[in-house]
Amino acid sequence: MARADLKKEKHEATEARISTLNMPQGGTWASMARNEALSRLRGMGLPARRDEYWKYTRPDTLIQQDAPAAALFDSLEPAVFDSVDRLKIVFVDGVFDAAASDDLSLSGVEIDRLETAAAADIHWAKDVYGRLEARGQTPVARPLAALNSAYATDGILIRVTGKAAKPISLIYTHKSEASDAILHHVIKLEKGAELTVLENGPAASRFNKVMEVEVADGAKFHHIRAQGRDHERRAATHLFTRLGSESLFKSFTLTVNGALTRNEAVIEFSGDNAVAHIAGAAMGDGAFHHDDTVFITHDAVNCESRQVYKKVLRNGAVGVFQGKILVKEGAQKTDGYQISQALLLDDDSQFLAKPELEIYADDVACSHGSTTGAIDQDALYYLRSRGVTKKEATDLLVLSFMAEAVEEIEDESLREEIVTRLTGWLERRSG
């Protein structure tokens, strides 16, 4: 089909989608940021099936006017992170729930709701909101993120000046079968600051979330996310981050269940000697499509990036990985590592991977690998010959497969929380 046709199709889809949304009213800075995002969105148009970047994941249900209904899933299992001492911020179907949340106060941290901050004429978030997202639109367009910046109805703005006393936990619960939520968070870590952000919950029938994280020199950001529960939910999330010198960024995502999840991460090294690790563990059974799309730009000297993605798939589940490391001219001493692996528990499942390296500096060490495999039959037999049941032996091998990703979580108790989830998921499945 001709380019003009594609453009027309995108234009129509974009206008149709926009027509169902209301841009929230706000003060000067917010209105400007939103209108700029809207023109970005109009400029690129919503994703279409024929877009190269959407080759493996159909955007249809993410861009259609109404969110496809997603049944609520009643789990007896207590929610993840329940036992962690944290500051809770709860959103129900994308709407802030003050009663269920803690007071938004934590020493060394400023926390505002987007809705309140946007009403003000000026706010610190104006330097980040929509800005990192805009930077992340080249060289690849991320229209759903621009749509988010324009239309997000709520979100949380966090500015950290010291070491946060405890993690901030964003909890997304899902109560309406047809909810369509758009949330936008901004996190700004000032020099030397440190914060852990936890996220969990099914969020909504359809969830569009952007998180922009500005990590200043010497600051440390830890992010642990668990996307679980409702089987029919859909989500498109974007994580944009820019890293100052000597800073640290670590993000881990566990995904279980969900009809469609696309997690995009855009990481930019702008200061020297920084470290960014991003990892994901996804377990899919049946109608499960999970896409990790990562873009890392090294534009500074001596930075280390590490991507570790593991997916366990069965009963027709589909896993996608698109990961790119771009090393710009002058980004010498870059250490870039990328691994994406899928363990297919049957012949019905599939893994589609597109690992990419693009390097314009000569003194770098970058490697990437992608594998698709099945359970090692020799290992399985060996375990069984010691009396371990087939089911338990398989689970043990699955956990060991996931280990490299899970080990990216530094905090031991948080890592345990995730391992418990993985184990629980495995135990609930029959052999």
Partner: protein, 253 residues
């Protein structure tokens, strides 16, 4: 204890017959050794006994304490008391040796309707047994067999056997890859387990192991059959003369 009758085995995937009528009866408390040329079917016999996939039993039977084991899953055979120390122990990246052993011990206990071993008790027992086999704490923490030397792998097999306390122990070339001292350690480990209720089937190429682990009966396997059985002196004969005469005799029968 173990009663193998007229066992015929072929490969599932191809028309290749490997075991051509093996008869072997092992009494409780006794030690039997099998020697035989490369490719004669010794490992195949041990795999078939432990329930590895890929083989088809076309005739014969195997019972452990009068219970047919051929239809059992590998884990059921293990719970019934059968143990195979592998000729080539498998490496399992990502699974800690200790985790693996505790999982195995508790799985067998569960299968037998016993309570799980507490973490503290397990630790105490394994430390003790590891020490006698000179397996250090580091080896217990590392992933199962990954990066272990040949000898370390074999000692690790014996550690598993000591922890699981099976009643029918099959050792497939446990002596290969062991230095002289390690061979002594391993033999002592095995001898420590010898008692009236436990039997051993020791597969080896060398008489030397049998100096340490004294067999009651020695069998010679050739081309999928046990062609001759005798006392420990049979092993000496093999050591000196090789298999040619034995094979010729068997052919003549």
């Amino acid at each position: 204890m173990l009663d193998i009758k007229n066992l015929h085995v072929k490969l599932e995937e191809e028309d290749k017959v490997i075991l051509k009528g093996v008869d072997l009866k092992i009494e409780p408390g006794s030690v039997h050794a099998i020697m035989g040329p490369n490719g004669s079917g010794k490992s195949t016999l041990s795999y078939v006994l432990s329930g590895r996939a890929g083989y088809e039993v076309t005739d014969g039977s195997v019972t452990l304490d009068d219970v047919d084991i051929l239809d059992m899953e590998p884990e059921e055979r293990a719970a019934a008391g059968l143990f195979l120390a592998f000729q080539y122990p498998v490496e399992i990246p990502g699974v800690g040796n200790m985790t693996f052993l505790r999982t195995a011990v508790n799985a067998q206990r569960k299968a037998r309707g016993q309570d799980e071993m507490s973490a503290a008790e397990f630790l105490k027992v394994i430390r003790e047994k590891a020490k006698t086999l000179q397996i250090d704490a580091d080896m217990l923490k590392r992933p199962v067999n990954v990066g272990f030397s040949g000898g370390e792998k074999k000692r690790n097999e014996i550690l598993q056997m000591a922890m699981l306390e099976p009643k029918m122990c099959i050792l497939d070339e446990t002596d290969s890859g062991l230095d002289v001292d390690a061979m002594k350690l391993v033999s002592e480990g095995v001898n420590a387990l010898r008692d009236a209720g436990r039997s051993f089937l020791v597969i080896t190429h060398y008489q030397r192991l049998l100096d340490h682990i004294k067999p009651d009966v020695v069998h010679i396997m050739s081309d999928g059959r046990l062609i001759k059985s005798g006392g420990p002196e049979l092993a000496l004969e093999v050591e000196q003369n090789g298999y040619a005469d034995l094979k010729a005799d068997a052919g003549a029968v």
